[in-house]
C-alpha cells in the first residue's frame, strides 16, 4: 500500500514492545476478548458489542479499554498462537490482562502482540482505516488522502467500521463455540 497521506507521530508507552504496521480498527466500545472474540476466527462474538462480527486479525486494534473477564489473557495468547491476533493493540489505559497474554505468548511461542498505551485523548483521533506503524513507544499514523475516513469529515470521532451491527439481539453467525 502507498503510504502517501498526512503523517502524524504519537508518543505512547509500550507495555509490550514490538513492531507492527497495518490498518487501524477502532473499537466503539470496550471489549472482553474472552466471550467477545473467537480466537479460531479472529472475529468479534460479543453480542453486546456494536461491532459484532468484525475481524481483528491483521488490524491494529484501537480500544478504549478492556472489559469483563479475567480469562482474556488466555484468549489473547491463544489467538497469537493461532495467528488470529491483531497486529498490535493501542489502548487508552494500561490493561494488565492483555499484557499477560502477550507476554506468555512471547515466552511460549516466541511471538507476541505489541501493546501501547497512548495519552488519553489520542485514541479518539484515530479512525478505522488509518494506517498505523508501531515502533516500541512510537506510533505513526498515516491518513490516506484518496479515501478519507470519517475522521476527515468529523475530526476526533471514530470512523465507520466494517461488519458492525447495532442490534445486540441479532442471532449469532459462525462465531459460536
Amino acid at each position: 500500500m502507498t503510504l502517501s497521506g498526512r503523517r502524524r507521530e504519537l508518543r505512547g508507552r509500550a507495555l509490550v514492545a514490538g513492531e507492527a504496521a497495518g490498518p487501524a480498527l477502532v473499537l466503539e466500545a470496550p471489549l472482553s476478548l474472552w466471550g467477545g472474540m473467537d480466537p479460531r476466527t479472529g472475529r468479534l462474538s460479543d453480542h453486546h458489542h456494536p461491532q459484532l462480527g468484525a475481524t481483528i486479525t491483521g488490524q491494529v486494534l484501537v480500544m478504549p479499554s478492556g472489559r469483563g473477564s479475567s480469562s482474556s489473557s488466555s484468549v489473547l495468547a491463544e489467538s497469537i498462537r493461532l495467528g488470529t491476533a491483531p497486529l498490535a493493540i493501542l489502548l487508552a489505559d494500561p490493561d494488565e490482562i492483555l499484557v499477560l497474554g502477550a507476554l506468555v505468548a512471547q515466552y511460549l511461542y516466541g511471538r507476541t502482540c505489541p501493546l501501547v498505551v497512548l495519552p488519553a485523548d489520542h485514541p479518539a483521533t484515530i479512525a478505522t482505516g488509518d494506517h498505523l506503524e508501531v515502533h516500541g513507544d512510537r506510533v505513526t499514523l498515516v491518513r490516506p488522502r484518496a479515501a478519507p475516513a470519517a475522521g476527515e469529515r468529523d475530526p476526533g470521532r471514530p470512523g465507520p467500521v466494517r461488519g458492525s451491527s447495532g442490534d445486540p439481539g441479532r442471532p449469532p453467525d459462525e462465531a459460536r463455540r
Binding site: 507495555l15 470496550p30 474472552w34 466471550g35 467477545g36 480466537p39 462474538s45 460479543d46 453480542h47 453486546h48 479499554s65 478492556g66 472489559r67 469483563g68 473477564s69 479475567s70 480469562s71 482474556s72 489473557s73 488466555s74 484468549v75 495468547a77 491463544e78 497469537i80 498462537r81 493461532l82 489505559d93 494500561p94 494488565e96 490482562i97 499484557v99 499477560l100 497474554g101 507476554l103 506468555v104 505468548a105 515466552y107 511460549l108 511461542y109 442490534d167 445486540p168 439481539g169 442471532p171 449469532p172 462465531a175 459460536r176 463455540r177
Partner: protein, 422 residues
C-alpha cells in the same frame, strides 16, 4: 521498584526455572501497574484451569515440567468438565482430553480441587483486610466488596504466578486509596416491591457495571444487610458489564458502613438516580429480542455457583412439581455445596423433579446444553450476558420464580404485573 531478597532469589533461579518465570511475570506486571514493591498474599484462586485452547495448556504444562508448586493455599475455579458427571460433556473428545490435562496440571502444582467460581462459599475464606490473589471476575468483586479482603483484578497466568511466588504487585485494589468509592448509585426512587425481589440485584449490578467502567461504584439506599447471594448476583453482573472489582453497598459491605466512609469522606464524580425504568431497561438488555415468544428449551441457574440457600429456594419454588419434559433445567454448583445439600436430601428431590445438577464447571463455559436452538431462561445476569456469544443461544432473563414457573409450564412465563410501570 524495590524487590526483597526473596524476590531477587526467585528471579535469579534459586528455586528453579518455574519460580524464575513466575517471578519474572509478577515483576513485569508490577512494572506495568507502576507498583513500587511486591507484597505477600495469603491465598490464591486460579482461573487458568478453564480450557480456552492450547496456549493455556502449554503454559501450565511448562510450569509443571519446570518444577512449579504453589506456596500459598490455592483454590481452583470452574474447569471445562464435570468430573462427577462426565457424561454431561458434549464437546469433542480431543477438547475433553486437553481440558482434563489442564485440570491435572494445576492439581499437580498443589492446587485444591475446589472447581468453583464461588470460592467464597467454601469454609476457609479470606478475612477483612487480608491480601489475596484471586482471579475470576465475580470472585474478585466478592472478595473485595463483601469480605473486605484485597485483591487486584487478576486473570489467567498471573494467578498461578502469584500462587507460586506468594507475591503480587502493591497496586490496584490492594491499595487503600484505590478502594475509594467514586460513583454513587442512589436507589431510593425504586419501590419497595422491587427492592424485595432477588431479581433486582443482578439487574442493578448490570446497570451499575455498564455505567462504572473502571470506577469504584457505591450503591446507596438499599435496606441494610443485603444477603450474600444478592451481593454475589449484583457483583457478578457488574463485573461482566463493566470492569468492576469492588462495589460498596452502603449498610451491607464492610468498607461502607456509611456513604461518607465508602467515599473516604470525598466527593463522588457523579450521583446516578436509579429509576424503575433503568431496571426494566437492564432486564431488556439481558433478554434477546423476541426471545420471550420463542420455544423454551432450557433453564440455567447457578452462575455464579448456587449456594445452599439458593438450592433451598429452588426446592421450595418447585414445591413438588416437575420440570416440563421438553425443558432441560440445569443448576450449576460446586462439589462442596453439593455435599452439603446431599446431607439435606435435596439432590434426589431435584433430580426427581427433572433438575440436572452440574458441578465443577458451568453451563455457559463448556458444551453441556444439548439443544441450543430454542430459548433458554436464566436468573443470572452473567449467564445472560455471555451465553449468546459463547453458546449461540437466545436468552430470557427472569427471577428464579419466573424461571421455575416457566420450566414447569414449558413456556416463558413472565410476571407481567410485577414488571409493569408503577
Amino acid at each position: 521498584m524495590r524487590l526483597s531478597d526473596g524476590d531477587r532469589a526467585l528471579l535469579d533461579g534459586a528455586e528453579g526455572p518455574a519460580g524464575r518465570l513466575a517471578m519474572r511475570i509478577v515483576v513485569e506486571m508490577a512494572r506495568v501497574a507502576g507498583a513500587a514493591r511486591l507484597i505477600d498474599v495469603t491465598s490464591a484462586h486460579i482461573d487458568g484451569c478453564l480450557y480456552h485452547g492450547r496456549a493455556g495448556l502449554d503454559f501450565a504444562e511448562r510450569l509443571l515440567r519446570d518444577g512449579a508448586a504453589v506456596r500459598v493455599p490455592t483454590t481452583l475455579n470452574v474447569a471445562s468438565l464435570d468430573l462427577l458427571h462426565p457424561d454431561r460433556f458434549r464437546g469433542d473428545p480431543e477438547t475433553a482430553a486437553a481440558a482434563r490435562r489442564l485440570m491435572d496440571a494445576y492439581v499437580a502444582m498443589g492446587c485444591r480441587q475446589t472447581w468453583t467460581c464461588a470460592p467464597y462459599q467454601l469454609p476457609e475464606r479470606p478475612g477483612f483486610g487480608e491480601h489475596v490473589a484471586w482471579a475470576e471476575s465475580n470472585a474478585i468483586v466478592f472478595a473485595n466488596s463483601v469480605l473486605g479482603a484485597r485483591t487486584a483484578r487478576y486473570g489467567d497466568f498471573i494467578d498461578i504466578c502469584a500462587a507460586i511466588t506468594g507475591r503480587v504487585p502493591d497496586a490496584g485494589l490492594h491499595r487503600t486509596e484505590r478502594r475509594r468509592g467514586q460513583l454513587v448509585f442512589d436507589v431510593r426512587a425504586l419501590p419497595d416491591r422491587l427492592l424485595d425481589q432477588d431479581v433486582l440485584y443482578p439487574l442493578l449490578g448490570h446497570l451499575v457495571g455498564a455505567r462504572s467502567g473502571r470506577l469504584v461504584p457505591v450503591v446507596d439506599g438499599l435496606p441494610a444487610g443485603v444477603d450474600e447471594d444478592r451481593l454475589k448476583a449484583a457483583g457478578a453482573a457488574a463485573a461482566s458489564s463493566g470492569e468492576v472489582g469492588l462495589v460498596h453497598v452502603v449498610g451491607s459491605t464492610p468498607e461502607a458502613p456509611t456513604l461518607a466512609e465508602a467515599l473516604h469522606h470525598g466527593q463522588p464524580l457523579e450521583v446516578v438516580e436509579v429509576t424503575p425504568a433503568m431496571v426494566r431497561a437492564a432486564r431488556d438488555q439481558l433478554t434477546t429480542a423476541g426471545a420471550r415468544e420463542g420455544r423454551l428449551t432450557g433453564v440455567n441457574v447457578g452462575t455464579p455457583h448456587f449456594s445452599v440457600a439458593e438450592f433451598g429456594r429452588l426446592v421450595a419454588l418447585l414445591g413438588g412439581r416437575s420440570v416440563h419434559p421438553e425443558v432441560a433445567f440445569y443448576a450449576s454448583t460446586s462439589r462442596h455445596v453439593l455435599a452439603r445439600i446431599e446431607a439435606l436430601g435435596w439432590p434426589a428431590t431435584l433430580e426427581a423433579a427433572g433438575v440436572r445438577l452440574v458441578v465443577d464447571t458451568c453451563t455457559y463455559v463448556t458444551s453441556i446444553l444439548e439443544d441450543t436452538s430454542g430459548v433458554v431462561m436464566t436468573s443470572s445476569a452473567k449467564w445472560a450476558w455471555y451465553a449468546p456469544g459463547n453458546l449461540g443461544v437466545r436468552v430470557v432473563l427472569g427471577s428464579l420464580r419466573e424461571c421455575v414457573e416457566s420450566a414447569v409450564e414449558g413456556r416463558v412465563v413472565g410476571d407481567d404485573a410485577f414488571w409493569a410501570a408503577p
